[in-house]
């Protein structure tokens, strides 16, 4: 127990890297989810096809392979080496964006057909229809699964340890275990708590956004556990 302060300070050094990787990954995930999710609903076959290749390509391979590919193979092909943290954020975003695209597509598709018809009857332009009528309703549907996706992303950020990003997991493995081998349980106990707390923060923020989005529609937020739909594979 007397090593606790030093353990905390070493893990504290890794915390910003974990937080930056997770936040960066989440931002990229949101952009790609909406971009690819909307393209999956495009009327043009070619656009849908190309987007499908992205989505299935990233959902069908291992995240570790994607990480190693971008970090070790891409530089050989394009002659430009990414900083580990940037490569990591790119993979977290690209990978989870592919899952998020399906969430966005499903949520938009779940908006009742009458809503489209009503918007057309009011002679809203296609862009207005999407922005004013469809997306606000779809947003409420997609927030709970996106919460799960972001927590998955937080957990995945630990694989950045494999390409030398000094985030929490790597600090524990490379700095603490070799130096404080007797405190294995304490070290991992603290690491587990760090990830639990970060996950709790994500959930708290997402709940707040869920309430805001539901209020905007004049609805009360309903939150049921949809375990079967949580399965993001």
């Amino acid at each position: 127990m007397e090593n606790l302060p030093r353990i905390l300070s070493v893990l504290g050094d890794g915390l910003p890297e974990t937080v930056i990787a997770t936040l960066g990954g989440i931002v990229l995930t949101i952009v790609l989810s909406f971009g690819a999710g909307l393209l999956l609903l495009s009327p043009w076959r070619v656009v849908r096809g190309v987007t499908r290749v992205y989505v299935e390509g990233f959902r069908g391979t291992s995240e570790v392979v994607q990480l190693f590919w971008i970090y070790f193979v891409l530089p050989v092909l394009v002659g430009y080496q990414l900083v580990p943290l940037v490569a990591g954020i790119a993979v977290l975003g690209l990978n989870h964006g592919a899952y998020g695209a399906e969430i966005v597509r499903g949520a938009i598709r779940s908006v009742p057909r009458a809503q489209y018809e009503g918007a057309i009857a009011l002679s809203l332009s296609p862009a207005q229809r999407m922005r004013r009528v469809i997306l606000p309703q779809a947003l409420v549907e997609m927030l709970p699964p996106l919460n799960n996706l972001f927590i998955q992303l937080l957990k995945s950020s630990s694989i950045l340890a494999l390409i030398t990003v000094p985030e929490v997991t790597r600090q524990a493995r490379e700095v603490l275990i070799p130096n404080f081998g007797d405190d294995t349980f304490l070290i991992f106990g603290v690491v587990f708590v760090v990830y639990l707390l970060l996950a709790a923060v994500i959930t708290a923020i997402m709940r707040w956004i869920e309430r805001w989005a539901a209020r905007r529609l004049g609805r009360r937020p309903v939150r049921q556990r949809k375990v079967l739909e949580e399965v993001a594979v």
């Binding site: 299935e56 390509g57 959902r59 069908g60 391979t61 291992s62 995240e63 570790v64 392979v65 994607q66 190693f68 590919w69 070790f72 193979v73 050989v76 092909l77 927590i151 957990k155 995945s156 950020s157 630990s158 694989i159 340890a161 494999l162 997991t169 524990a172 493995r173 275990i177 081998g181 294995t184 349980f185 991992f188 690491v191 587990f192 990830y195 639990l196 996950a199 556990r225 375990v227 079967l228 949580e230 399965v231 594979v233």
Partner: protein, 218 residues
Amino acid sequence: MPLWDWSYAFSILPDLLLALVTTIEITVLGSVVALLLGLVIAVLRRARIPVLDQVLWAFVELVRSTPLLVQVFFLFFALPRFGIELSAFVIGVLALGVHYATYTSEVYRAGIDAVPQGQWEAATALSLPRSRVWTGVVLPQAIPRVLPALGNYVISMFKEVPLLLAIGVVEVVNEARELGSETFRYVEPYTIAGVLFLLLSYPASLLVRRLERRRVSA
């Protein structure tokens, strides 16, 4: 030197395929652990035994909310301190199995909750013993319903096996890394590794989707 060398690619293919077999072995064994342990957790939690119920809840939440890689390291470094010396392969199977058991336990729970209350009442009215209620009435209705979700988790476990390279398990990606370090050519090994994953997991996910649709239309 060309960016992609076909003769090199073919020369490393057998080694990668061999490592792929290891990956599949770990997936199959891990799935057995996950599917059985998850069912045990779900059934035990349904019994709502005080203390045990809270312990199981805390365990499931802890394992579900923290990274698999950290859990892998934890087992790798903590088990020897109890005098338990296991190979990296076995630790990998255990870590994946227990991690995914917490996911599958939630899936089973959803399936069990979806069995109509009347089925429980009828089973009680017939005064079936507790074990028969589970094996004869509830589970045969609950499990088929959740098969697609369980299938998805098996596929996603397959894709997480490469994490075990961190403790020295020689699965596909680790093999690719070793092959690459011999020749300093990484393009072919990592690309082939990615393609191998896609070749297996994409058809598998199509299969699961078909199963899903069949259940919806049935």
